[in-house]
Symmetry: C2
Subunit: 420 residues, 2 copies
């Protein structure tokens, strides 16, 4: 699994995924919701863990989301059961019953309480879950739980994804070794309104549920929420973190150096997963980072970065390697953020294409002594696979980044015939 | 020009476009901004007219938008000059100077004041306007003004549009004949954030500037704003109406039967033009009307209709004739409107696919006696060219409609290589 920065501060990438942290096992099996690919995953902590979740803001919430929100009220959990191929959304009372059966079957197989099982589903909306098959799958997965099972679980939660998405890191908190691992799925053109995004994170850190939730919300805001637009979430989106405390560090129960250290590791995990989702965007051929700097507030910067990153016109221009920076200006102007267009600089890669709100027509002189037309140079940047667009508002000192991919023929192809 | 309803209440479709109302002339010429297609239009009233405008909410506003907003402060105007092929946006002080020159050249050619000329541009952002060519074009157009010039003007304002968009209606207000005509351009995937939308409307009704503005805002909210998402506007969008009073009716200066009558005619014009934009959507093969009924408020209904109509996933499903109603449910759930999913019915055409928030699995019995699977029937509806999606919230008595087209391969193709 590609990762640009193998080390960030105190944290290092290590193999193992959600089963790297002590005391976690996982499994992924095929139970028959899909024709042949794996479609049921279990992630289990040997010790009841502190747990926190972030859920879709969509008012149409799938049954597993409702059941998991209810089960998380205690702030702890022992297992996560996930099926793919069927969202169990818009399925009414039957759907709720099925989500409860999934929790009960998992609890029975593991010898824990149903209220300590979190349930998640992804796939087609509006179809009745084949609960018999799912129940058999749960028993099968429970018998296959393994401390090397992360990749199997990661594979079993995929839908239109083309690669599994898995990351884990280790670091030190108060001189003790702590690990954090995560798996996720999602590829639908990046907006989770376009396809469900699920992420499951495990860690052996010792932390209170309140601080765990706080860390999760912060890291989701700077990662998964930067590949989406506020409120644009599917019926099934969820991000769950379980912390079983087996690292043996002094319990993190307030803000401070230990908490900040944990947040940095968690952000490394969630940001890596978020970028993997973008890189696996449906039909995507290019990865785009939109950086906004010089903003008055971080919220302003995030809002503009997300608006530009989610513009269909910007995304198609990137696909066509067309340095049409007018589309970037038009998108940022409608972000709902107070700004002065006349102060704005825009770079495509390191090429300044907009200076103080208007076209930069000053040719750059490259080292070879030849002058280069900025649009010619920008077109070259856009022909590459990894593209950075930088917007400097020159109005403050806050910054943010959002990630997206290009919009291609294949996106339309994939989405014109997905289900039924 | 196709139009479903040739008569609405007191109003009838008639030929003539913006030159149908008494005292208006128009012209469209090629001045050389584009290679060979017409690119400059004039619309002129022989008598100074009351005028009102609605403009882009984008903070990055093109120079002609800023100049026209300034000129409209008097509430009257004598002419509109429009160029296509160049947006004169993100062009700084030079752009403002060029927009003022366009007004001055037009005023000089017509013998009116520059402050009575409204200026509009559409095309590529960030390029300097070839003002010499534009000035020559204005003189040429002024010499070609004609009471049959509407179609020429309509043609000269187009960019990626594939057809001209023109409509005019006549009706009676207080026993006098009144006409209203309009032309517009816009095809960019319907969101005006995707491409500039311009509309110019003329009428010979006698009305005060305040009531004219009120009528315009109302009709735009129910027409052009229903093919967009709030705030998603380009740098150049504008809708202008000029009313020269030559119909000789008693001046409309307050709300009442005459005002309502005028609003109905104006709405017929703006709704027709808005639908033409959708039907000419970039790469579009199908026309979709999203109707929301049973809402608590009209604003709720509008908001849901627009959110569903602008969902990429719904639009690709329509392209693929895939009755994937889960995408409709997911889209309406994130509209930001308080609703109860369990009350919602969804129809594709006249096929009930969602009943009380879940799949309608009850087969319909058709007249031939054979039962029909709702999904099979819905797929048939989606294979047609004109599609109605109806969402009944069963929570009130307000309703609204939004219009969109499908999202196709050709949309990507057109937008992957537009400019530079």
């Amino acid at each position: 699994m590609e990762l640009q920065h193998e080390t960030q501060g105190n944290w290092h990438v290590a193999l193992g995924g959600v089963t790297l942290p002590r005391g976690f096992k996982a499994a992924g099996v095929h139970c028959g919701i899909k024709k042949s690919r794996p479609d049921l995953a279990l992630i289990v902590s040997e010790k009841l863990a502190q747990a926190a979740g972030v859920f879709t803001t969509n008012l149409v919430k799938a049954a597993p989301v409702l059941v998991t929100m209810e089960h998380l009220k205690t702030g702890c959990a022992g297992a996560i059961v996930v099926n793919s191929g069927n969202a169990n959304a818009c399925t009414g009372e039957t759907g709720i019953k099925h989500a409860r059966i999934m929790a009960a079957e998992t609890a029975y197989a593991l010898g824990i309480s149903p209220g300590d099982v979190l349930v998640s589903s992804t796939g087609v909306i509006g179809k009745t879950l084949p609960i018999q098959k799912v129940s058999e799958g749960i028993r099968m997965a429970a018998s296959k739980l393994s401390p090397e099972g992360s990749s199997d679980a990661a594979r079993a939660i995929l839908t239109t994804d083309s690669v599994i998405k898995e990351i884990s890191v280790t670091g030190q908190i108060c001189k003790g070794n702590v690990s954090i691992g995560g798996i996720c799925k999602g590829s639908g053109m990046i907006h989770p309104n376009m396809a469900t995004m699920l992420a499951f994170i495990t860690t052996d850190v010792a932390i209170t549920p309140v601080m765990l939730k706080k860390a999760l919300v912060q890291s989701v805001n700077e990662s998964f929420n930067m590949i989406t637009v506020d409120g644009d979430t599917s019926t099934n989106d969820m991000v769950i973190v379980m912390a079983n405390g087996l690292a043996g560090n002094a319990v993190i129960d307030e803000d401070g150096p230990d908490f900040q250290e944990f947040c940095e590791g968690l952000r490394m995990v969630t940001t890596s997963l978020a970028k993997m989702i973008v890189k696996d965007g449906e039909g995507a051929t290019k990865f785009v980072e939109v950086r906004v700097q010089g903003a008055k507030t971080a919220e302003d910067a995030r809002c503009i970065a997300k608006t530009v990153a989610s513009s269909n016109l910007v995304k198609t221009a990137v696909f066509g390697a067309d340095p049409n920076w007018g589309r970037i200006m038009a998108a940022l102007g409608r972000a709902g953020v107070d700004l002065d267009p006349d102060l704005i600089d825009v770079y495509i890669g390191d090429v300044l294409v907009v200076r103080s709100g208007i076209a930069n027509n000053v040719n750059n002189t490259c080292t070879c002594g030849k002058s280069k037309d900025p649009l010619v140079a920008a077109r070259k940047v856009l022909a590459e696979q990894n593209i950075e667009i930088t917007i400097d508002l020159n109005a403050g000192s806050s910054s943010a980044a959002a990630w997206t991919c290009d919009l291609t023929y294949d996106y339309v192809k994939i989405n014109a015939s997905y289900t039924t």
